[in-house]
């Protein structure tokens, strides 16, 4: 696990250029991994039905958004972002970096901030938030969230702050992550307690 080197302020967008062939490659890898995850037969039919499912459309829109962001077509990027928000309540900001083989299980309520870098083959479930703020001590320019490869983020997880998450990490549902996590860890949020109805009443 090592932290990425961030470009100095003001030069980010040059660093984040994404060519069209790169965009197509990322889209294909997303669809291929989702087909394998759903245990469907690889082929044109299953690829198309994955690509035109809501989660698939939301991700495709994000990939195009990222390409347009590199070309400095900001108004178009904004429009696509609004489409994602209105249709699927998904908000993936255009400057976020997401590696190949990304799976979003449900598009609803997913929010990924500009200053987020996600590695390869990550899985994100329903209603996941990744953002650098608002929080005390927020540095809008230099704060970044770095997430490694093969990370599985379960439903309702909030990742907030300037932090690094290692490779092969699993984050349990409804956890609030506010500190860095090393490689190969499982993070369980809170311990639950079950009480019988008689005890409560």
């Amino acid at each position: 696990m090592e932290r990425h080197q961030h470009a100095p302020a003001g030069t980010e967008n040059l660093n984040h250029m994404q060519t069209w062939s790169e965009t197509i490659r990322l889209m294909k890898s997303d669809i291929r991994r989702r087909v394998a995850y759903e245990r469907r037969k690889p082929g044109l039919g299953s690829s198309l039905s994955i690509a035109f499912s809501p989660a698939g459309i939301a991700l495709l829109i994000f990939r195009v958004q990222k390409f347009l962001y590199g070309k400095r077509l900001r108004p178009l990027t904004k429009l696509l972002g609004i489409a994602n928000m209105v249709l699927f309540t998904t908000e993936i900001e255009a400057d976020a970096t997401i590696g190949e083989g990304f799976i979003m299980l449900n598009p609803n309520g997913v929010m990924i901030h500009n200053h987020t870098r996600i590695g390869k083959n990550c899985t994100v479930a329903h209603q996941v938030t990744m953002t650098i703020g608002p929080r005390p001590g927020l540095d809008v320019v230099n704060d970044y969230i770095d997430i490694g490869d093969d990370v599985v983020i379960s439903a309702g997880v909030r990742i907030i702050g300037n932090l690094t998450i290692g490779d092969r990490v699993f984050i349990a549902p409804n956890t609030v992550v506010a500190a860095s996590i090393p490689d190969e860890h499982v993070l369980h949020g809170r311990h639950l307690k079950a009480r019988s109805m008689a005890e409560v009443a």
């Binding site: 499912s53 309540t89 439903a155 549902p173 409804n174 079950a194 109805m197």
Partner: protein, 178 residues
């Protein structure tokens, strides 16, 4: 699943909803659905399940997408949910195909019912028995069984079996000064 069964389920959902909101149930309930997004979302799901059982998978998937875009409710066509299904606030609810639920399942909002995302085999089932209330923000993850008459509190996470007549709560938090 026959059409008569679907009509029965829809009627039971509307009856339960009318009872819970202290209103009379009658034929006018069917008209009120159009002005009641939560009931409309459940109605769309019932039609979706019917169409799916009849073998029209594409139409079922289309109805599911309608629910996702209109209400951000994602209920898999294969989910088997019995009569008296209520969603109080139709916002960010996800239920997977592998869910089998009994009568009078009440969801509030921001609920997730799904298999563990790490689970590669994906052949488990989530069994929810009768008269369950899932509080807002509660997550039910993985192949689990929830016993009858249980209450799952707000923001609780269920990853193991819950016995019947259980009050399942998150521990209380205290605030701290900076």
């Amino acid at each position: 699943m026959t059409f008569a069964r679907t009509r029965f389920l829809i009627a039971q959902d509307l009856r339960e909803r009318a009872e819970r909101s202290g209103k009379r149930y009658g034929w006018i309930s069917y008209l009120k659905v159009l002005f009641d997004p939560p009931a409309l979302a459940v109605l769309i799901f019932r039609l979706q399940a019917f169409v799916h059982a009849k073998g029209f998978r594409r139409i079922a998937t289309f109805l599911r997408y309608v629910n996702i875009v209109c209400f951000s409710i994602d209920i898999g066509s294969g989910a088997q949910i019995d009569a008296g299904f209520i969603i109080y606030h139709p916002n960010c609810v996800a239920i997977c195909d592998e869910c089998v639920a009994g009568k009078n399942l009440h969801l509030v909002h921001h609920n997730t019912v799904m298999l563990d995302p790490r689970d590669v085999t994906r052949d488990g089932r989530i069994v929810i028995e009768d008269d369950i209330i899932l509080g807002c923000g509660s997550r039910i993850i993985g192949p689990v069984k929830i016993g009858a008459n249980s209450f799952i509190g707000a923001s609780a996470v269920v990853t193991e079996d819950v016995p019947p007549f259980t009050f399942f709560l998150e521990p209380e938090f205290t605030h701290s000064e900076e």
